[in-house]
């Protein structure tokens, strides 16, 4: 699954650690999602969408 996490994070000038703290996950989790090595669960995807105040499909898209 593709995602815009890195772009959205950069727009807010957040580091991976900043985003990880806001999502209450490890920095490695953010890194793995950003680089496409791990697809988040639906609950985590909803948390990400809520944090960026965007619908899930505006952040994640199928390959």
């Amino acid at each position: 699954m593709k995602n815009r996490l890195k772009v959205l994070r950069a727009e807010r000038n957040w580091s991976q650690q900043d985003l990880a703290q806001r999502l209450e996950v490890s920095r490695q989790s953010v890194n793995a999602i950003e680089t496409g090595r791990y697809d988040p669960s639906l609950p985590l995807a909803f948390r990400i969408a809520a944090l960026f105040e965007m619908p899930i499909e505006a952040i994640f898209a199928p390959d």
Binding site: Q16, V25, S26
Partner: protein
């Protein structure tokens, strides 16, 4: 590239792991050559096992900086370290009793439990970690590593069993399954860490 992080003693986890394995090797060599007796060997082995404490501290310090440290990881590490020390103690007592006494029946059963109960504790610690870990990516990694270890045990165990049946290889005790599983899990964790680092750098 992430610099190697050290524990309170200022040494990296690789240093302490190297020290521990070098100590085990030296003690084994001294025992094989009969330079030291069995009680001395066991005391030295128990002392060498204490190196797991600085190794654990350095490992936690490294995990803290790589973003792998969670409260569940800290609890798991503490439980696994205590179980490892219990295993060494139980193993030493069991071997000593086995060599000095004629054990059979219920006695043998009880002595066999000495090193096995800490192994049960290690398996329980792993299960608790998977239950308590809130970070789904870390839980996923631990699950994948555990499954890789299980796959290694099943594959090697089955192959070895048939080779043994056909008289190609010597007999191997079944208690090797747990160390083999742990080795498989370690290999998988190392591979995933390397892959994560490579992904982060690209």
């Amino acid at each position: 590239m992430t610099a190697e992080v050290t524990g309170r003693g200022g040494r990296s986890r690789w240093f302490w792991a190297g020290m521990m394995f070098a100590s085990f090797g030296a003690i084994a060599a001294l025992r094989i050559t009969d330079a030291i007796g069995e009680p001395t060997g066991f005391i030295l082995l128990a002392c060498a096992m204490l190196l797991i404490i600085p190794l654990t501290r350095a490992g936690l310090a490294h995990q803290r900086t790589t973003g792998h440290l969670s409260p569940a990881v800290v609890r798991y590490t503490r439980r696994f370290t205590v179980a490892s020390l219990g295993y060494m103690l139980g193993l030493g007592i069991a071997i000593t009793l086995n060599e000095r006494m004629e054990v059979s029946g219920a006695g043998a059963f009880a002595i066999a439990l000495l090193p096995v109960l800490p192994i049960f504790a290690m398996i329980w610690a792993m299960a608790r970690y998977l239950i308590e870990e809130d970070d789904e990516f870390l839980r996923h990694r631990a699950t994948m590593a555990s499954l890789f270890g299980l796959g290694l045990v099943l594959a090697v165990g089955s192959f070895w069993g048939f080779l043994e049946t056909f008289g190609v290889v010597p007999h191997v005790w079944a208690w090797w399954t747990f160390p083999a599983w742990a080795i498989g899990m370690g290999i998988a964790q190392c591979w995933m860490s390397w892959r994560d680092r490579a992904g982060a750098e690209s």
